[in-house]
């Protein structure tokens, strides 16, 4: 089972004492040569913040919980709405009306009681972003609006934290991973689009499974980050169109003139960009 190693011997070298249940639970990770007991231990020591318990946050949280991430923080100020259930698979019909963070916490605990869950039933804004983010090793952007996407980007760059960006719309998705020094969201897009310029999922619609496609990529990137496996989506923007099932990775370069991570950054504080009223609700 452990590639010729004596099971007890391997366990003794690990910092964490795996229980028999944990060995069984994570056996498919441990079997992976690139992960093994050491990789699983890193996963179990990891602290991940998921911003948004919606279409992207749902699959991200479920997979990270199943993988055994030590601590998962969830930020979301919404309650579960019936229209969320078409894609936000962490919430069930019985959860309509309760805070998304509570619904998500319950499912995470049901999947894996070992996971420590911290819930933040509030909006992420310039007043709390840095304080919340600093407690975590990796941040997953699962939000559905540009003001918060820029806020997460800026806060992570300022705090030197890695994060996974994700966006979905209609039949398309895009994602990249930022590590300090690699291209950030502002390198690609200088500032949020004007209010009303670009539609949101709640107006333009989205195929539910697209959220799962993109969210699981973000979860995979998170696990790759902690285990050090493979190459992250840094300096690359992955985009896909589910209509054609064509995936494309566009190389993107860190922009020297970037207002937050460039040579002479002009942004020295977090900005709360204007947000349409509808986004506060959904």
């Amino acid at each position: 089972m452990f590639k010729g190693r004596v099971k007890g011997e391997k366990i003794a070298t690990a910092m964490i004492d795996f229980t028999e249940d944990q060995i069984q639970r994570y056996s498919r990770h441990i079997l992976l040569q690139d992960v093994g007991v050491e990789g699983q231990e890193k996963i179990m020591n990891a602290r991940v913040l998921v911003v948004g318990a919606g279409g992207l946050g749902a699959p991200v949280s479920l997979y990270l919980a199943a993988a055994g991430i030590g601590t998962i923080g969830i930020v979301d100020a919404d309650v579960v709405d019936l229209s969320n259930l078409q894609r936000q698979v962490i919430h069930f019909t019985k959860d309509v009306g309760i805070p998304k963070v509570k619904s998500a916490e319950e499912k995470i605990k049901a999947i894996n009681p070992d996971v420590q869950v911290n819930t933040y039933y509030e909006f992420l804004d310039s007043s709390n972003a840095l304080d919340i983010i600093k407690e975590y090793d990796f941040i997953v952007d699962g939000t559905d609006n540009f003001p918060v996407k820029f806020l997460i980007n800026d806060a992570c760059v300022m705090a030197g934290k890695p994060f996974s960006h994700g966006g979905i719309l209609r039949f398309n998705g895009q994602t990249f991973t930022h590590l300090p020094g690699t291209a950030c969201y502002r390198c690609m897009f200088k500032e949020p689009p004007p209010v009303g310029a670009v539609p949101t999922c709640s107006q333009a619609g989205v195929l539910g499974a697209i959220a799962g496609m993109l969210g699981t990529i973000q979860a995979a990137e998170t696990l790759k980050y902690f285990t050090g496996v493979g190459e992250l989506l840094t300096n690359r923007l992955l985009t896909f169109d589910a209509k054609t099932m064509l995936f494309r990775t566009v190389p993107v370069k860190h922009r020297d003139s970037c207002a937050i991570c460039g040579t002479n950054p002009t942004i020295d504080h977090l900005i709360d960009y204007e947000q349409a009223a509808c986004d506060l609700k959904h």
Binding site: T143, L169, Q203, V252, D279
Partner: protein, 110 residues
């Protein structure tokens, strides 16, 4: 060789300095077309045959890019500043990527 009215126009145009005539309009377009060069460029990874000269702004129009004021453009993997789009002349083999905002937004409810 049969005489054709075109030959007469061309003869007059050839001595335009002497007789002081303007280029006939159709000849104008012929000359301009002859100057154009076809080039293969790659837009979002797909090959496109375009006629040069062509700048980034013109390429955006040709490709019917929706909301051009919302798009980010990379030319050969370098971001092109919006104010430079008119001045960037494309050439054979150039790779152009349009990056779009995705992931929600702030469309006000009607």
């Amino acid at each position: 060789m049969a005489f054709h009215i075109t030959h007469l126009w061309y003869a007059i145009y050839h001595f335009r300095g002497i007789v002081g005539v303007q280029k006939p309009p159709y000849l104008c377009s012929v000359i301009q077309t002859q100057k154009k060069i076809m080039a293969k460029i790659y837009v979002n990874g797909d090959a496109q045959e375009v006629s040069l000269p062509l700048n980034v702004s013109e390429l955006i129009k040709q490709n019917d890019v929706q909301q051009p004021d919302m798009v980010s453009v990379q030319v050969n993997e370098e971001f092109a500043e919006r104010e430079d789009w008119d001045g960037i002349q494309l050439k054979e083999g150039d790779k152009i990527d349009f990056l779009y905002f995705m992931g929600g937004g702030c469309l006000r409810e009607e």
